[in-house]
């Protein structure tokens, strides 16, 4: 490097590492003459590609990605596959049923040896207290969790970035509004708010939101309500982070340079600020997903989210925990482990992303 970069040259005791990542790959000679042939051996990498490369080296993050992908695949293509596995089955209660029925998440069978079963060839993860297939319910539950997480994060990112950038860049009343609002949300327990919303508006949602085409009358309306409520409580934090980063970016000289080049304020926001927010937003969103999933599970656990016959990990835990006294640990163990696995995976992935995008912040 040929800069005497006063900040990095200042050496604190015990911490000294020449910044080798700044070794340039391109050479120019002295002024006036045409440049010599540069060093073509290294392919040009954008900062994004560099970060992804660092991420690939993080084993814990890669395992987490594997776990998440596994669950996504499980939730999406698990049910159709599962519902084709196995032959027809003679049920004492319901007659002859095929796997498309007894391997679905809502099929109940109340009988002596159909409830609270441990894993068998018939039900790969056993059955719960009313004879429903645990694996099927699990897959549906995971699907719900991920769908909720997706909706919440989309709203979170959209609102958080929009408001955060405007607050950070323009300041003024938007900033004041955001500040007061986030203060309010921080003071008010988020989950309690969601519970209130779900409790008060649950029925209303069932009636009115079911009319929205994709949602449908199958209990998803309540789920949408919960998702929106969760999103409402998480976007202020994202907006705060984005605002902070925007304030920092605003002071950078390349922003001043863009202004000097004639770029309009809006152009600066779109071209220069938002792309540089990318890494922050991804990291915060990923870490947020953990909270969201727990939030949804919690709401459903309390009976305010997904309702039976629908399935949610929270519902499974609620039902399963009733069976502990009867000695059936399996029913609560499975959803708990899955919840833990998913949440940890997103947590570790978020950490890994943060280290990949900003290696200097590594502790």
């Amino acid at each position: 490097m040929d800069t005497k970069d006063q900040q990095s040259e200042s050496v604190s005791p015990g911490v000294m590492l020449p910044d080798t990542t700044l070794v340039p790959t391109i050479l120019t000679p002295d002024t006036g003459t045409y440049p010599i042939e540069g060093d073509q051996k290294k392919k040009s990498t954008s900062p994004l590609q560099d970060s992804l490369r660092r991420l690939r080296r993080d084993k814990r993050a890669m395992v987490s990605i594997g776990v998440i992908v596994f669950f996504i695949v499980l939730a999406l293509i698990g049910p159709p596959i599962y519902q084709h596995v196995g032959g027809p089955y003679q049920s004492s209660v319901n007659g002859v049923v095929g796997p498309s029925q007894y391997h679905s998440f809502s099929y109940e069978e109340l009988g002596q040896n159909t409830q609270d079963q441990l894993p068998s060839a018939h039900n790969w993860l056993g059955t719960d207290e009313i004879g429903r297939d645990i694996l099927a319910r699990l897959m549906q539950g995971v699907l719900i969790s991920l769908a909720v997480a997706l909706v919440v994060e989309l709203v979170d990112i959209a609102l958080g970035v929009l408001i955060g950038v405007l607050a950070g860049y323009y300041g003024g009343w938007i900033d004041q509004l955001l500040a007061r609002f986030t203060d309010l949300m921080f003071a008010f327990p988020g989950l309690l708010f969601v519970i209130l919303i779900a409790g008060i508006f649950g029925n209303w949602a069932d009636i009115h939101l079911s009319k929205i085409p994709v949602v449908g009358p199958n209990g998803n309306a309540r789920l949408l309500l919960v998702s929106l409520a969760l999103a409402f409580t998480t976007w202020p934090l994202m907006a705060r982070y984005v605002r902070g980063q925007t304030l920092q970016l605003k002071e950078q000289q390349f922003i001043e340079a863009a202004r000097s080049s004639g770029t309009s304020s809006w152009g600066i926001i779109i071209r220069h600020i938002i792309p540089n927010l990318f890494s922050l937003v991804i990291v915060v969103a990923t870490l947020d997903i953990s909270n969201t999933i727990i939030g949804e599970a919690g709401i459903s656990f309390l009976g305010l989210g997904v309702q039976a016959p629908g399935s949610s990990i929270g519902l499974m835990i609620a039902a399963g925990s009733q069976q502990i006294l009867a000695g059936h640990f399996w029913e609560v163990l499975v959803p708990c482990c899955v919840l833990a696995a998913i949440v940890l995976a997103f947590s570790f992935l978020g950490d890994g992303l943060r280290d990949a995008f900003d290696p200097k912040s590594k502790d």
């Binding site: 200042s10 000294m16 590492l17 120019t28």
Partner: protein, 325 residues
């Protein structure tokens, strides 16, 4: 013939990183006499700071490691010392000050406390009051006005120049034999720089403290130092008394540096003669002279072997060049 205060022989400090081994200091040898003021000049990446940190044994390990050479301070081998012994030496026998005083000073303690702390660490026989009095004495010595009152102030209440003086006070309070100053005035305004440098020179003289002044500014070196080491790509390329460095530079890099400086007394419209090319890559130093790619006088031999420091002329001047001026 006085014994050497500091003797560094064939020092090698490497950093083992994922992108390769960075040979930050690659065979550096020099010596200092008691009370001598040595200037270590070079541009960023030349290894001057790493050399100083190696002497203080402050290299973060991993990824850094002193892989070879010897460092003798007062006849004792620094590389053999334990951590406990080193903490005894640092602050009382060898002190160091850095470029940015704000990160060197603890923001939550007042400056008097920080100076007194150093005193108490090394002079356990002194009481708190005595240590405090010594701290105020030092503040007075470094010309902080109203020292008694200002000893109770916190770092943020001082300007950059004054903070650097506080650093000097901390560094000198136990009367060390060697003070290493790494770019101590680079971040300061030029009139403040003049004040601080004059102070350092005066104190060094008064207390016979040897001074190793690390900087990229040749002007500072010209005014402060008796002897100069010029570093490039991890080793010393020229070592000479200050007069000779400026009047008869032997190594082409030294000459190049001097020619690329704008001077106050030059004629209007004169063009600078820059050094062509870029600073070297420290992860893959070639076996040749490290300056060869940029040297206007490069010959075949320069591209094949690395020159060692050799005596030039009849004085104390040494240069690592096969074809010195």
């Amino acid at each position: 013939m006085t014994a050497k205060l500091l003797e560094v022989s064939n020092l090698k400090t490497y950093f083992f990183t994922r992108s390769g081994v960075v040979k930050a200091v690659d065979d550096v040898s020099f010596a200092m006499q008691p009370g001598q003021r040595l200037g270590v000049v070079g541009e960023s990446g030349c290894g001057k700071s790493v050399t100083a940190l190696s002497v203080m044994r402050l290299i973060a390990s991993p990824p850094g490691k002193i892989v070879g050479g010897e460092i003798n301070f007062n006849g004792e081998d620094m590389l053999e010392k334990s951590q406990v012994e080193l903490t005894d030496i640092r602050g009382s026998k060898i002190s160091m000050i850095f470029q940015d005083p704000m990160t060197s000073l603890n923001p939550v303690f007042n400056v008097g406390f920080q100076i007194a702390e150093t005193v108490k660490r090394h002079r356990k026989d002194l009481s708190n009051e005595q240590a405090w009095r010594r701290a105020v004495e030092m503040l007075d010595l470094v010309r902080i006005p109203d020292a008694k009152r200002r000893a109770k102030n916190y770092p943020h209440e001082f300007s950059g120049g004054m903070r650097q003086r506080v650093m000097i006070a901390i560094a000198l309070v136990c009367n060390p034999q060697l003070l290493i100053a790494d770019e101590p005035t680079t971040a300061l305004d030029v009139t403040i720089q003049a004040q601080v440098l004059e102070l350092m020179k005066g104190l060094s003289h008064e207390f016979s403290t040897a001074l190793m002044l690390i900087t990229h500014d040749l002007g500072v070196v010209a005014g402060m130092c008796q002897h100069v080491n010029v570093m490039y790509a991890g080793h010393v390329v020229e070592s000479a008394p200050v007069q000779q460095i400026f009047e008869t530079p032997a190594h082409p890099y030294t000459l190049g540096l001097l020619q690329s400086l704008p001077r106050l007394n030059e004629r209007r419209g004169s063009k600078l003669t820059p050094i062509k090319g870029q600073p070297p890559d420290l992860t893959n130093p070639p076996a040749s002279c490290s300056y060869a790619p940029r040297c206007p006088k490069v010959q075949n031999r320069c591209r094949m072997e690395r020159p060692q420091l050799m005596r030039v002329g009849r004085g104390e001047q040494e240069a690592a060049c096969f074809y010195p001026n």
